[in-house]
Symmetry: C2
Subunit: 391 residues, 2 copies
């Protein structure tokens, strides 16, 4: 039922086809994130029509109030969302990090709108132990525990095609010693996650951690590679500062490319900036997921072939050009920047819908160009993509 | 270029075809409201695909910051919104009422989220004089004046096919004496509005006022009927209390049906509850506009053939039935109440999109059933619609 076949190679990059019981996924591919079981501002149908072939749902958001039980009663995610394409769920590990170290250090991505999850003394409410993690739910303050077993149970109830092992997602600021100890636990949790999976209609991805340290990443890749995972997530954070995090990520991807089994798919978790999609694809990454296309849209930011623009800027008030003159999405074919500016400034839902459509199209189209260049083994094409983000 | 032709009659009800330079409108028909130039949660294209043939844009929202100037520079509303079907704009009179008496008496519909528009003494900031109205903008506190001439100028710049005369929209609580004096001013403003219109690609609707008083309404209808309007809006409020307002509205519609020229279209402004659409159509009303389908959707309320339901209610958490088992909209064909409940509870944009789609389909479908019954002159069919809201 599940299969990953590499089609073409170009350097370390490769195109492939990942087959699941609900359909095929072209790689390198981008997985749009439907956090709570819906894309924010777009139907699954529309997303599929512009090239999405798989979606990710966040287990965490169905976990805290045991909503995965409701989804199970309704027949699982595919029936609940009425969608017949491949789905994946993450483990919840990343959101726990966002609530813990990520919240205190402002390095996580959980919305600041959630309830304060610190104790009165300002300490993190996330407690990480050998068995799992305890934390205060950001939704209602309830005390919640996630263990490898409970994460996998929730992911089984949700019923996505591809699930992820439960891991500790460490902070980019964590010390070598912390990362090393954490990694050992993540490895024990990886085994427990595998042991907990009983549904043969699902496959599991192990998650390589190790932060910004080459040797830890290498050790993690070797450990995970020895376990019977279907593929591998590459999780956690990279360089300590924003400036060096990209270069650190690229060099770590080169380390992992050598260590991870060539024939299994690799998913770079939570990464989705255009340049990262290109650089990581060139380093042998097969899958990506990220909230950038949808989240940016809600803040008026459009990804374009000339870089990011914020459509709320007053310079676009009377601009008769499309969002991106090189784009063929419905938004660019039908609307001018002036109208999108007007809608974004007023917080109109339709403005979010139009920008979401554009941003997702932009990313999916970029992935298609990357696949084409790899298929043609055309390094000049790849250079063009790298340099100009496909003009 | 503009034409209104009555096709069939059944009692006082009639079906017709209103022709404009941008296309035809079937009557009795419902005009979805695109307040700021966008439906809240739906594309114009989708709305047209489920039967919408005209949209209303609110002049007020383009007036306060002179945004109608930007729209004019972009080529007018049709080009700005990239839409090739008939459009109408209202005059802004209703929103001024909402800010004034409507705000103080809580009878208006302007969102409570706007800035407080009262003076420090708690008085209304809306001053109504012979020349026009002065008020404090709810968007930024700026002092704004609207006169019949400036409303029409803004509507010309917006460039919709059908525009409305500027009127004073009185409170349901206003006394007979107040209404009588106000009505005289509205009549003077109607003439000034007509004088101000210079664009022959637009036609104007006069607005009949007179509150809950039969004799004032009759006098207003006679006055307006004598002026060269293309058709007539029926504006303002009816009975003093919620309980008697519907009956008062129905009886006033019967008065107006006798006074207004038979061959010209009549638009009942701001009314859109299903039972009112039926009762008013039976009393010879041709057009309606209302924010109910879209606004209800944002609050989780669905219009169904069994009446209104709020999908956020916990009773729908595991409900596998569609929103409305008698409905053929995309939402009802594809999604279960449990999923819509989940999305609405979490404030997901996609939940708003799905409910908006359903509610608008429900209303447009109701209008089609009303037109069919009138075309067939089938009173039993009309009774069925009245009783069961088309099961």
């Amino acid at each position: 039922m599940f299969n990953f076949k590499i089609k073409k190679r170009s350097g370390k990059a490769r195109t492939g086809l990942l087959t699941t019981p609900h359909g095929e996924i072209k790689t390198p591919g981008f997985v749009p994130v439907a956090t709570r079981g819906a894309l924010k501002g777009m139907s699954f149908e529309n997303a599929k029509s512009i090239g999405a072939d798989i979606f990710m749902v966040n287990t965490f958001h169905f976990y805290c109030k045991r909503e995965y039980e409701t989804v199970a009663k309704m027949g699982g995610l595919h029936k609940f969302l009425n969608i017949d394409c491949p789905l994946m769920t993450d483990s919840g590990g990343f959101q726990v990090f966002s609530l813990g170290a990520g919240f205190l250090e402002k390095t996580g991505k959980i919305s600041s709108a959630v309830k304060d999850v610190r104790t009165k003394k300002g300490e993190s409410m996330v407690k990480i132990g050998e068995n799992g993690v305890f934390f205060k739910s950001p939704f209602d303050g309830d005390k919640v525990e996630i263990t490898p077993e409970s994460s996998i149970k929730a992911q089984e109830k949700l019923g996505a095609d591809i699930v992820f092992a439960f891991d500790e997602c460490t902070s980019p600021l964590a010390s070598y010693e912390y990362q090393k100890e954490s990694l050992k636990k993540t490895h024990r949790w990886a085994k427990r996650s595998l042991d907990a999976l009983s549904d043969d209609k699902q496959v599991m991805m192990g998650v390589v951690q190790g932060g910004r340290f080459d040797d830890l990443r290498k050790g993690s890749a070797r450990f995970m590679a020895a376990l019977p995972f279907f593929g591998f997530g590459i999780g956690g954070s990279f360089g300590e500062s924003f400036g060096d995090s990209k270069n650190n990520m690229y060099s770590i991807l080169e380390v992992l490319e050598e260590e991870l089994p060539d024939e299994k798919p690799r998913h770079l978790l939570g990464i989705g900036e255009p340049e990262d999609l290109i650089e990581a694809s060139l380093r042998g990454v097969d899958l990506f997921d990220c909230v950038i296309p949808t989240r940016f849209a809600r803040h008026g930011t459009a990804l374009t072939s000339d870089g990011r623009i914020n459509i709320e800027s007053s310079c676009y008030r009377e601009d008769k050009s499309p969002l991106d003159k090189n784009c063929s999405c419905n938004t660019c074919l039908n609307y001018k920047r002036s109208y999108l500016h007007h809608l974004a400034k007023r917080g109109e839902i339709y403005g979010i819908m139009l920008l979401t459509n554009h941003n997702l199209y932009f990313i999916l189209n970029l992935m298609e160009k990357i696949r084409d260049a790899i298929d043609k083994d055309d390094s000049s094409e790849i250079e063009k993509i790298k340099k100009g983000l496909i003009k």
